[in-house]
């Protein structure tokens, strides 16, 4: 028996010793500043993860001497058994001095990893560990004020809808997703009531959650199915809150069937590509500027645990060097709605308009903002329920 085991071990070692022959992987002479990127979805998902991946590429272009290493599909469904601390260990071994975890789902793992590697800097995107005081000194939080992008999405949705029924394809339920869905609703309501002067009672805004940021067969609800249900039951505009592009794909199918259908994807500047017939535009993240700011600090040794919530650059929200949040207009946006959108953006930017102004109520009728009150950052960040006027679950049942 012992011999069997020895034999097995020998064969095993032999197999790998063959591979060691190939060891021409010497490190470069000049040590670059390596940063690691943990992406929750595929790096080419035309959505959230691709936006981050291109943010990383932007850093490599902008700051000479930086090098990105990344690993995508970092979630327990795609990579069973793989943990965040394990990936961080590996990236640190590969020389990463700063590591970015791009998903809400990585919150616990990245905090644990940051504690294990006090010499390495960490950024958790979309998290709030710094506010809650749970972050170690080497962990910072970064996010963009996407509520503005979502307001624009809601605005063009309501400007375009013929039926007044807007569907929101929601991911999972938490503070962030309630905030973003509510922002969409506020934008839509503003367009419906103030710009189009239509009856508030005729606007229907339905939120349907699938359970995660993207489809996991057998675990989440199928976003394709949810989008189809929207279009089949009279909703003519579907706004996506998830990381992937199902809303646009389904809308494309529907217009081929002769239906009127529009969609607004999310996250990635190029998400409308190939869907100009249905795409009204996309609110997107441009991670370059935020990443650059942190990586420069880390290189200079001045990295600090801070919570950074970056606004659009109102001078030009689509400026790749300065604006964290942008809105790329789609081919299906009418000229008329486009002009109205420009005015809307300029009012938001000038501070003439703040949609997070009371009176606003939660779904159960309780007061979110009193009349005339303007929401603080924290009040916007931590929304406990969806707003009154929206349909859909505010939390899990």
């Amino acid at each position: 028996m012992k011999r069997k085991i020895t034999l097995l071990l020998c064969v095993f070692c032999f197999l790998f010793s063959l591979a060691i022959v190939q060891s021409g992987y010497a490190a470069a002479a000049d040590k670059p500043f390596t940063f690691g990127l943990l992406l929750v979805g595929p790096y080419n998902d035309h959505g959230y993860s691709q936006a981050h991946y291109e943010g990383g590429e932007y850093v490599e272009r902008t700051i000479p001497g930086t090098k990105m290493i990344y690993i995508d599909k970092v979630n327990p469904a795609d990579r069973p058994g793989i943990t965040i601390p394990q990936l961080v260990d590996d990236m640190v071994e590969k020389g990463a001095e700063l590591i970015i975890a791009n998903s809400d789902d990585m919150k616990d793992g990245i905090r644990e990893a940051a504690r294990m590697h006090p010499e390495t800097d960490f950024i958790h995107i979309s998290g709030d560990d710094v506010i809650t005081g749970m972050a170690p000194k080497n962990l910072a939080n970064l996010f963009g004020r996407m509520e503005y992008g979502k307001m624009m999405a809601g605005f063009v949705a309501a400007m375009t809808s013929q039926t007044g029924k807007i569907g929101y394809l929601g991911p999972l339920v938490n503070d962030e997703t309630r905030r973003l869905a509510s922002s969409c609703y506020l934008g839509a309501r503003y367009a419906w009531e103030t710009v189009l002067k239509k009856d508030p009672a005729d606007l229907k805004f339905q939120v349907t959650w699938i359970g995660f940021w993207f489809n996991i067969p057998g675990v989440t609800a199928d976003p394709t199915q949810v989008a189809q249900n929207f279009f089949n039951s009279g909703y003519d505009v579907v706004i996506s809150g998830i990381d992937t592009t199902e809303a646009v794909v389904v809308a494309n199918q529907k217009i081929k069937e002769g239906k009127e259908a529009w969609a607004i994807p999310y996250d990635y500047v190029g998400a409308c590509e190939g869907a100009s017939a249905v795409c009204l535009g996309v609110p997107y993240f441009n991670w370059g500027p935020g990443y650059v700011s942190f990586i420069k600090k880390s290189m200079a040794g001045t990295f600090a645990s801070e919570w950074l919530w970056l606004s659009p650059d109102w001078k030009d929200i689509n400026n790749i060097d300065t604006s964290t949040i942008g809105f790329a207009r789609g081919g299906a946006l009418s000229a008329e709605s486009g002009i109205a959108l420009s005015a809307f953006i300029s009012d938001l930017g000038a501070g003439k308009l703040n949609l997070f102004t009371g009176p606003l109520f939660y779904q159960d009728g309780s007061v979110y903002l009193k009349k005339g009150a303007v929401a603080t950052d924290k009040e916007i960040w931590y929304m406990k329920q969806l707003l009154k006027g929206m349909s859909g679950q505010s939390s899990a049942k």
Partner: protein
């Protein structure tokens, strides 16, 4: 003289067996290597570099070895459990669900200790509950088999889906984080309830000892106890029940309880030692993987852990493929699948060759 002849025969038979085993192994390995190399080449990556990165990514440092062992522990526990059921001829495909239920029961107990007090008490209770949970789930499949005549493969598969349903319901429902509905899992356990580990090498000594104990206990149980003997007798010859007056049902249930218990323990390890919370994918597919490990090791309790170690290396090391070569890491799944297919093919070929040889003889 006769005695020495007997010894000689047995030694030469053993040598023959070893020669056959090593020949099969070499053929299997060759088939697998050529198959995976072909796939890597088709994927447009350099095969040697791919093997090199998998190796370096799994055994290239102590920390990495620690991660490999972290995967190896639950995989070995499940494999050990499966040996009992395979021994009596049962296909306990429900092992996946048994891991999940072990994790669920563990979490249930730990939720009472979220304030971090009396951590050791809660950990022991949680592990016990995990074992009980896995065993209970296996017992259901066993009961359906022995009482209802439901094939254990179908019962097991069905129960896997039910377990998956239960875990999703708990995570999105009663055990959700306040105000959140996400498959990210339940509230993180307080650090007191994490299985202690040596932080420099990310290794949990307790987990490792439990897995080693499982191997030794299984080896002793299967080889030296009456239970082991009876399981083998019933597994190799159903008529043994009549001949030796054995209660087949009882032994089937017993085998299921052992399998489920070990799988449940693996679930407890996943909750307390790896994820520190309950997540929908808590089993990491180790149950299904353990079925492959058990088959590939020819149901041998000593070879099983070695194969499990190899699979754990693949699991941990293959993450390098997307990182270093921009290849899809699902290739490790292809290698594992190819291994099993090759092993089965070589096995079938051997049986066929033996049959032909016997036919020629007669």
């Amino acid at each position: 003289m006769q005695e020495s002849n007997g010894i000689n025969t047995s030694v030469s038979r053993r040598d023959n067996a070893i020669a056959r085993f090593s020949r099969d192994l070499v053929i299997t390995v060759l088939v697998v290597v050529s198959f995976t190399t072909l796939i890597i080449v088709l994927a447009g990556a350099p095969p040697l570099a791919a093997y090199y990165h998998i190796f370096k990514g799994s055994l290239g440092s102590w920390v990495k070895l620690g991660h490999v062992i972290r995967v190896w522990i639950p995989l070995t526990l499940c494999t050990c459990g499966l040996l009992y059921t395979f021994r009596i001829g049962l296909w306990n495909i429900g092992v996946e669900g048994q891991v999940i239920m072990g994790a669920v029961f563990t979490t249930y107990v730990l939720r009472f200790g979220m304030d971090g007090r009396m951590a050791n008490f809660f950990l022991i209770a949680a592990f016990t509950a995990g074992v009980a949970g896995g065993a209970l789930w296996a017992l259901i499949a066993g009961y359906l088999k022995t009482k209802g005549g439901v094939n254990e493969i179908f019962a097991g598969l069905g129960l896997n889906f039910v377990a998956q349903g239960i875990i999703l319901w708990l995570i999105f429902g009663p055990w959700k984080r306040a105000g959140i509905a996400s498959m990210s899992g339940t509230e993180l356990l307080p650090r007191e309830l994490w299985l202690s580990y040596v932080s420099t090498i990310r290794l949990s000594p307790l987990g490792l000892s439990l897995a080693l104990c499982a191997i030794i206990v299984t080896a002793i149980m299967l080889r030296y106890t009456k239970i082991g003997l009876c399981l083998k007798a019933l597994g190799s010859n159903p008529n043994a029940a009549h001949i030796f007056d054995l209660n087949t049902r009882l032994y089937m249930l017993l085998a299921m309880v052992f399998a489920g218990g070990f799988a449940g323990l693996a679930g407890s390890m996943q909750v307390t030692g790896v994820y520190h919370r309950l997540i929908p994918a808590i089993s990491s597919n180790y149950g299904y993987l353990a079925l492959l490990v058990a088959m590939l090791s020819n149901y041998n309790v000593w070879i099983g852990p070695v194969v499990a170690f190899f699979f754990a290396c693949l699991n941990v090391g293959s993450i390098q493929l997307p990182m270093m070569l921009q290849m899809d890491s699902s290739l490790s799944g292809v290698i594992q699948g190819a291994l099993v297919l090759a092993a089965l093919a070589v096995h079938a070929w051997r049986i066929r060759a033996r049959r032909i040889a016997e036919e020629t003889w007669y």
